[in-house]
């Protein structure tokens, strides 16, 4: 899949300015590609109009998988594969299974959640991350506007919107691939 190459970047110094800018830029009809900040900015997700993460659903399903795997495994082992009497209890002594079931549930829920997160965030080891502006790891908030995604709008108009929203700089950024 070919990725878009040409972006306009708005550089913001202050998170409060950024939050208002996101609102203004979106209401002027410009579609924001992504905002990069050095630290999590509270409320940014909502201003960007992001939907709530569906990661908890994945966690629940993986947890359910862990529960059923653990119970199946223990029932199979203790009742059919190699029945053992432990502490004078039945072969299939359900209370004994709870600690292992709990651990498996937590393990699969957390591993599953991490895995799903990495896949959906494209965090694979061979991924080539795009650095829009190195200062977004230091003290600047970078708002990236995808030109191809805003083809209905003049590029100068976009720059003007960014500037009037409080950006301290407006830069262009292109990637080779």
């Amino acid at each position: 899949m070919e990725r878009d190459k040409h972006f306009i970047l708005g550089v913001y110094d202050d998170e409060d300015v950024l939050l208002h800018a996101v609102k203004d830029v979106r209401s002027s009809g410009v579609k924001i590609h992504e905002v990069y900040s050095p630290y999590p900015v509270h409320g940014l997700d909502e201003e960007l109009g992001y939907k709530r993460s569906r990661l908890p659903i994945a966690a629940f399903l993986f947890g359910l998988l862990g529960t059923s795997l653990a119970l199946t495994m223990q029932f199979y082992m203790m009742k059919f594969d190699w029945p053992m009497i432990i502490g004078g209890k039945d072969y299939a002594a359900f209370p004994d299974f709870i600690p292992v079931t709990f651990e498996m549930t937590v393990l699969l829920a957390s591993f599953g959640m991490v895995g799903v997160f990495m896949v959906t965030s494209n965090l694979k080891p061979w991924a080539k991350p795009r650095i829009f502006d190195l200062r977004s790891t230091d003290d600047k908030h970078i708002m990236a506007i995808d030109i191809a995604n805003n083809s209905s709008m003049e590029q100068d108009k976009i720059r003007e919107v960014l500037r009037s929203s409080g950006a301290s700089e407006v830069n262009d950024k292109s990637f080779d691939e």
Binding site: H42, G43, G87, G88, D96, I98
Partner: protein, 431 residues
Amino acid sequence: MAHDVQNYNLDQKFEFTPALKKPIMTVLVIGAVLLGIGIVMAMMGGGHEEAAGEAGGHAFHWYERVFANLWINNIYFAGIAIIGVFFFAIQYAAQAGWSAPIIRVMLSLGNWLPYAAILTIVTFFVANHDLFHWTHSYLFDKSSPEYDSIIDGKGAFFYWPMEKGTFPVFYIARMVIFFGFWVFFFNKLKSMSYAEDGITDNSQWFKIRSWSAFFIIFFAVSSSIAAWDWVMSIDTHWFSTLFGWYVFSSWFVAGLSAMTLLTIFLKGLGYLEMVNENHVHDLGKFVFGFTIFWTYLWFSQFLLIYYANIPEESVYFLERLSSDVYGPFIFVNILVNFVLPFLVLMTRDSKRHGVFLKLVCSLIIAGHWVDFFLMVQPGTLGHNGGVGLIEVGMFLLYGSVVTLVVLSGLSKGNLIPKNHPMLEESYHHHI
């Protein structure tokens, strides 16, 4: 971010109007009527059981069941009341900001404490032989055929410095000291919190924080010992090392549910307009989290006893699980206090909307009553116990009286601590 100017009415007072009292009084009357019918039925039906009981060497009287119920509700509602004070103290010790508008709602649960103290002490003096096996003096008499060396070994914990089998000085002293200090700390924290309304600097907040820290230390010790004294000593032979925590966690979940219900109820009446779904969400998370904490302790206690299978330990669960009367309630206990809140309150939305919380919190308050029912009745009544009209009536009666006392206490002062230094922070609480 929208930093709108907030214009909340900080001087609002909760008005306990007759229209609000009416439904509570209705529940009270229903409870009293059920209790009355239950007692009359037990008195009339008691004749047969008494005859059968006498043949077995132990006569069962209808009033024993009333005493056991009094004890369940005394301990349960005293716990909910002290949890209100405890959670208030936690907010200060943790320097929590989010909870600033609702700390007085938490504290108001403590209004029941003085009544709980009197009721518990009076009930003990009236019903000690019917509730606590260890109060019988023949257990400590070596010449008696009923001499019990195990209880004799534990006797000093109740009777010191008096002779075993006489008057339980140490036990009564603990009860009086615990209730005395709890009521003292409640009054101290309450008066300091209300005194804050008249001053403008933060000095009062620091004072309350210090007192809260002292209270938490005292409560950490006293809640555990209270649980051994008031609940565990019913099954005198048996012991569990995490029982103090177990009773505390049961109280804590019920108390958190009561606070959450009270907050949602006040919001529904139009008070506490600064409390939004974010605050409710936090309360919901506390209920959800400590539900699991309670289950963890319940299961830890059960699993170790079940697995080790030492007779003097497993008798506690055998008495309950193999009983026709109590067996089903073990599962009711787990279903209502764990499975249901766990599944219903798991999602974010259900913790942010009052409907689910109202349902779950009400069920939890009833569910933890069942928990205390299972702790008290098998050891006091044996197979003569159960959930009947006396139980339901007494629970409704206590519940409505506690609600009346708590709400009328809440209506006496300002609802919101208007000079709390973190009030502004809590307006912007956002999760």
